[in-house]
C-alpha cells in the first residue's frame, strides 16, 4: 500500500520516519553529477528547525545545553511559543557556519518568550522579532565572539514594529550596529541588560513609550541612543532612561559606512537625536571622550543632509528633561575634527567638552514653551549653535534650568 504507509500518522511522525529512510538511502535516484545530495540535514539543527515548524500555539521548545551549529536562519511563525535554554552560557546556537538567511532567529509571531540561551556569530542580525505583540526576551546573550568588527551582524536583540516588549537580564556583545535595538515599537521595557563592544549599546528608535533602566552600557562606541529616523510611519517619543550605568563607551566606530550609527562619534554616552519627550534621570554617565550626553537634531547627524525631509518629519529634539544624573569625567578628545576644534576654541587646548552638548538647532516656527531642553543636573553644558556655524556657542545653563512633567512609567501586561 504505497499510498498510505502511515495512514493514521501526522506529518511530524511521517517526517521523522522519512528522515531515517532517506538518510539511510542517500544517493538513490541521483541523475549523475547534476544531482545534489538531497538528504535532509541531521543533528540538532534539523531537530530544532523541525520543532519550530511543528510547534503548536502555546508550546515550549527546549534547547539543551551545548553549542549547536546552524547553517541557515531559523524562523518561527507560531504564536504563543516559548523557546527556553539551560542558560546563556550553556545553550548556545552558533551560526559560525551560516550560509543562508539574514538572521539567526527570525520571529514573526506574538506572545513569544525566549530565555536562557545564546545566539552567536550570525551573518546578519542575531534575534529579529518583526511585527509581534507581547514579546519577552529574558537572559538571552547575542554575541559576535571575535569582538568588534565591521563584518559582524548588525543587530543583536532586534524587536521591530512590536507592541508590549520586555527585554531583561540579557547581554549583547559585538554588534556592528546596535546590541539591543528597539525599532518602531510601542510600550517597551529594557532593564537589567548589559551591552558592550557594540557600535551602539542600546538604541531606541521611532518608538513610543520605552522605559530603559538598570542597564549597563560599556565599551560601545555610543552607550544608549534614542533616535528618530525619517520616512517611517511612526515617529517616536516618550522614552525614559534611568538608573543606567553608561561608562567608557570609547570603542572606535566600526559601523558600516552609510548606516545611521556610523555617524556616532566614539566616546558618546547618551545620544538623543530628533526624538521628543525623553526623560533622562538618575543615571551614572562617565568616561566618554566626546561627551557624556549629546542632544542633536537630524541636521547634525551625518547620515542625511536632505533638508526637504523636514516637511514630513520633526527633526528637532524637543521636551528633553535631564535630572538627578551623575557624571564622570569626559570630553577630553571629541571624535570629530569639527567638535575637537570647537573644544579647543571654547575651552582651550587642555579644556574638555562639557557633560552635556546640544547642537542648539530649534524649530524657528515653534514657540519654545514646553519643548525646551531642561537640565536640572549638576553638570556642565555647551550649546554649539550648529545652525549658525557655531558663531555663538554658549555654556549658559540658566536658560535650561526648567522642568517638564515626569513621563508616565511604561506598564506591560505580560505574563511572568
Amino acid at each position: 500500500m504505497i499510498e498510505s504507509r502511515h495512514p493514521d500518522r501526522r506529518v511530524p511522525a511521517m517526517l521523522g520516519a522519512l528522515l531515517l529512510a532517506i538518510g539511510g538511502c542517500g544517493g538513490d535516484g541521483d541523475t549523475g553529477g547534476a544531482s545534489a545530495d538531497t538528504a535532509p540535514a541531521t543533528g540538532y539543527e534539523e531537530q530544532l528547525r523541525l520543532a519550530l515548524e511543528t510547534v503548536e500555539p502555546g508550546g515550549v521548545i527546549t534547547v539543551p545545553p551545548g553549542t549547536h551549529a546552524f547553517t541557515r536562519s531559523l524562523v518561527l511563525n507560531v504564536d504563543g511559543v516559548t523557546i527556553r535554554g539551560a542558560g546563556m552560557g550553556e545553550s548556545v546556537l552558533s551560526f559560525k557556519g551560516q550560509v543562508a538567511g539574514a538572521e539567526g532567529l527570525l520571529v514573526n509571531a506574538g506572545d513569544f518568550t525566549i530565555e536562557d540561551l545564546a545566539i552567536e556569530d550570525t551573518v546578519g542580525d542575531a534575534l529579529k522579532i518583526n511585527g509581534a505583540t507581547n514579546v519577552v526576551v529574558r537572559r538571552v546573550r547575542t554575541e559576535w565572539t571575535n569582538g568588534p568588527d565591521t563584518e559582524n551582524g548588525a543587530y543583536g536583540i532586534y524587536p521591530v514594529q512590536t507592541e508590549n516588549t520586555l527585554i531583561e537580564g540579557s547581554v549583547a556583545i559585538g554588534a556592528s550596529d546596535a546590541g539591543i535595538y528597539v525599532g518602531q515599537s510601542r510600550n517597551v521595557i529594557v532593564r537589567n541588560n548589559r551591552a558592550e563592544h557594540n557600535v551602539a549599546g542600546i538604541e531606541i528608535e521611532n518608538t513610543v513609550g520605552a522605559d530603559v533602566f538598570d542597564n549597563v552600557a560599556r565599551h560601545n562606541t555610543g552607550g544608549i541612543l534614542v533616535f528618530n529616523m525619517p520616512d517611517l510611519p511612526q515617529a517616536g517619543h516618550s522614552t525614559r532612561l534611568f538608573r543606567n550605568d553608561v561608562s567608557d563607551n570609547n570603542t572606535p566606530n566600526f559601523g558600516a559606512p552609510g548606516s545611521a550609527v556610523a555617524s556616532v562619534p566614539a566616546g558618546s554616552g547618551v545620544i538623543i537625536n530628533s526624538n521628543d519627550r525623553v526623560e533622562i534621570f538618575d543615571n551614572q554617565i562617565g568616561g566618554h571622550k566626546t561627551a557624556n550626553v549629546l542632544i542633536s537634531s537630524l541636521f547634525s547627524a551625518e547620515y542625511t543632509s536632505d533638508r526637504e525631509t523636514a516637511s514630513s518629519f520633526d527633526p528637532y529634539p524637543e521636551t528633553i528633561y535631564l535630572h538627578g544624573n551623575t557624571y564622570g569625567p569626559g570630553g577630553e578628545a571629541p571624535d570629530r575634527p569639527a567638535l575637537n576644534e570647537l573644544r579647543v576654541a571654547v575651552f582651550g587646548p587642555d579644556g574638555r567638552f562639557p557633560d552635556i552638548v546640544w547642537d542648539g538647532v530649534v524649530d524657528p516656527a515653534k514657540a519654545p514653551a514646553g519643548l525646551e531642553i531642561c537640565i536640572e543636573d549638576d553638570a556642565t553644558f555647551l550649546n554649539i549653535d550648529a545652525a549658525n556655524g557655531s558663531a555663538n556657542p554658549s555654556t549658559d545653563l540658566a536658560r535650561h534650568r526648567c522642568q517638564h512633567p515626569p513621563l508616565p512609567a511604561v506598564s506591560l501586561a505580560l505574563a511572568g
Binding site: I2, E3, H6, V11, L15, A17, L18, L20, A21, I22, G24, C25, D28, G29, T31, G32, G33, A34, A36, T38, P40, A41, R49, L50, E53, T54, T71, R72, V75, N77, A100, G101, A102, N108, T122, V123, G124, N130, G131, T150, G153, A154, Y158, Q161, S176, D177, Y181, G183, Q184, E205, P230, D231, L232, P233, G258, S259, A260, S305, D306, E308
Partner: protein, 376 residues
C-alpha cells in the same frame, strides 16, 4: 522500527513505484488531503508525475506563466493551478485572484542537465524553456523542488517537497542542497536553499500583520499574457474554460511588463522586475515595511521608492552608500549593491537567491542611470 528495515522498505517501494509509473500512461488523478494528513510523497497529491516521457500533469491541472518571474538562482519553473470541481478563480484587478477551498497552486523548480568540459553532468543556468511539460524528461532536466500552496478553509497552507529520484518528499524544514551550476559556462558553487514551510511566509505573508499567506503570481497583471505556444491571454483562455469568474472587458486588463521585452521602457521593465522580486516584502503591508522602502508596483512617490532615502536598519547592507536609490548613479545606490552581493547577511532578496542575477542587475542599473534629479 529499525533503520535497516526502513532502507529495505524504501528500496522496494521505489522499485514498485517505478513499475507502477511505467504501467501508468494516463495523467494522475488529483487527490485532496486534509491538514492533519499531508502526504510525505508528492505523488500522493496526483498533481504531477515525473516520467520518462517528461512531466505529466494531473487531470485538471493547468500550467500557467507570468510576465516577469521571480529570480530563483536561475531555476526554471513550471507553475500550475488546480481548482476543485465547479470551482473558479475570482478576478481581482489588483490583488491576487480569490481561489476556492480545494484549490492547489504549485511551482516546480528545475534545471537543464548539461555537461562541463570533462563531460561531467551539471545543472545549467538557462534563459527559459518551451513551456511544454513533456519536454521535462529525466534525462534532460533535473527537478529540484515543488512547492505547494493548498487552499484550506482557514487559508493557504505552504508545503515544500524536494525531489529525489522519481518522486518528491515533504520537507517542512526545507533543505540546503549543495549544487554546482554552470552559469554562462562557468561552474559556480550554489548552495541551493529550499525554504522551510515557515520561510514560505517570508514572501507569501504579504500582509505581515495578519501573517496569512497570499498568492503572489496569480494576479491579473502577471498572468495577462499567452501561455507559450498559445495566442490568447491566459485570462481569456481561463474565462472561456470556465476557470475564471468576473473577468471584465479586455480593455480593463492590467499588464505587467515582461522584464525582457525590448519594446517596453527600462522603467516599465525595472518596476515590473522589482514588483515581482521585491514588492511582496517591500510594500506598505509587507514584512520589509520596517525599512520604509516600498518597491511594489503601486508605490509611485519617490521617497518611499527609496530615491534619496537613507537606510533605516540596513547595517552593513548599506554598502557604504547613503541612499537606497541615487538618480543617475547606480553605483551609489544601496539597491544595486544589495542585488550584486552574495553575502547572505546583506543580499536581496533575503530568501531564494544565492547567486547574482546579472541580467536583473543590469536592468535595474539601466533604470537608475536614466532617473532624473539628484540627492541634495
Amino acid at each position: 522500527m529499525g533503520r535497516p528495515r526502513q532502507i529495505c522498505a524504501r528500496r522496494v517501494l521505489a522499485l514498485l513505484t517505478l513499475a507502477l509509473a511505467a504501467a501508468c500512461q494516463g495523467p494522475p488523478e488529483v487527490r485532496w488531503h486534509e491538514p492533519d494528513a499531508y502526504p510525505e510523497r508528492l505523488s500522493d497529491w496526483g498533481l504531477l508525475a515525473h516520467r520518462q516521457a517528461g512531466v505529466v500533469l494531473g487531470r485538471g491541472v493547468v500550467p500557467y506563466e507570468i510576465a516577469t518571474p521571480l529570480f530563483s538562482d536561475h531555476a526554471l519553473k513550471l507553475r500550475t493551478v488546480y481548482l476543485p470541481a465547479e470551482g473558479r478563480m475570482t478576478y481581482r484587478a489588483q490583488d491576487a485572484f480569490e481561489l476556492p477551498v480545494g484549490s492547489i497552486v504549485t511551482k516546480t523548480f528545475f534545471y537543464p542537465i548539461g555537461a562541463d568540459a570533462g563531460g561531467k553532468a551539471m545543472a545549467v543556468a538557462a534563459a527559459g524553456w518551451s513551456g511544454d511539460p513533456a519536454d521535462l524528461t529525466p534525462s534532460a532536466y533535473r527537478l529540484v523542488e515543488t512547492r505547494l500552496l493548498v487552499r484550506q478553509a482557514d487559508g493557504w497552507h505552504a508545503l515544500p517537497y524536494v525531489w529525489d529520484g522519481d518522486d518528491a518528499y515533504l520537507r517542512l524544514t526545507g533543505a540546503l542542497l549543495p549544487m554546482t551550476l554552470a552559469i554562462g559556462g562557468q561552474p559556480t558553487a550554489l548552495p541551493y536553499v529550499v525554504p522551510a514551510r515557515s520561510e514560505c511566509a517570508g514572501c507569501h505573508a504579504t500582509d505581515h500583520a495578519s501573517g496569512r499567506l497570499s498568492l503572489i503570481g496569480l494576479k491579473a497583471r502577471h498572468v495577462n499574457r499567452p501561455y507559450p505556444g498559445h495566442a490568447d491571454s491566459q485570462l481569456a483562455t481561463w474565462a472561456q474554460r470556465g476557470l475564471l469568474a468576473g473577468l471584465p472587458d479586455a480593455a480593463a486588463w492590467p499588464a505587467a511588463a515582461d522584464w525582457q521585452n525590448p519594446e517596453a521602457t527600462a522603467a516599465e521593465r525595472a518596476r515590473a522586475y522589482l514588483d515581482v522580486n521585491c514588492g511582496h516584502c517591500h510594500s506598505p503591508t509587507g514584512p520589509a515595511a520596517t525599512s520604509g522602502m516600498h518597491l511594489d508596483i503601486h508605490t509611485t512617490a519617490s521617497r518611499p521608492l527609496g530615491i534619496c532615502k537613507p537606510p533605516i536598519a540596513a547595517g552593513r547592507g548599506s554598502g557604504g552608500h547613503r541612499y537606497g536609490i541615487v538618480p543617475g548613479q547606480p553605483d551609489a545606490s544601496i539597491l544595486v549593491y544589495r542585488m550584486e552581493t552574495r553575502d547572505p547577511a546583506t543580499r536581496m532578496p533575503e530568501t531564494g537567491r544565492s547567486v547574482v542575477h546579472q541580467a536583473g542587475v543590469e536592468l535595474v542599473r539601466d533604470w537608475i542611470a536614466q532617473l532624473p534629479g539628484e540627492c541634495v
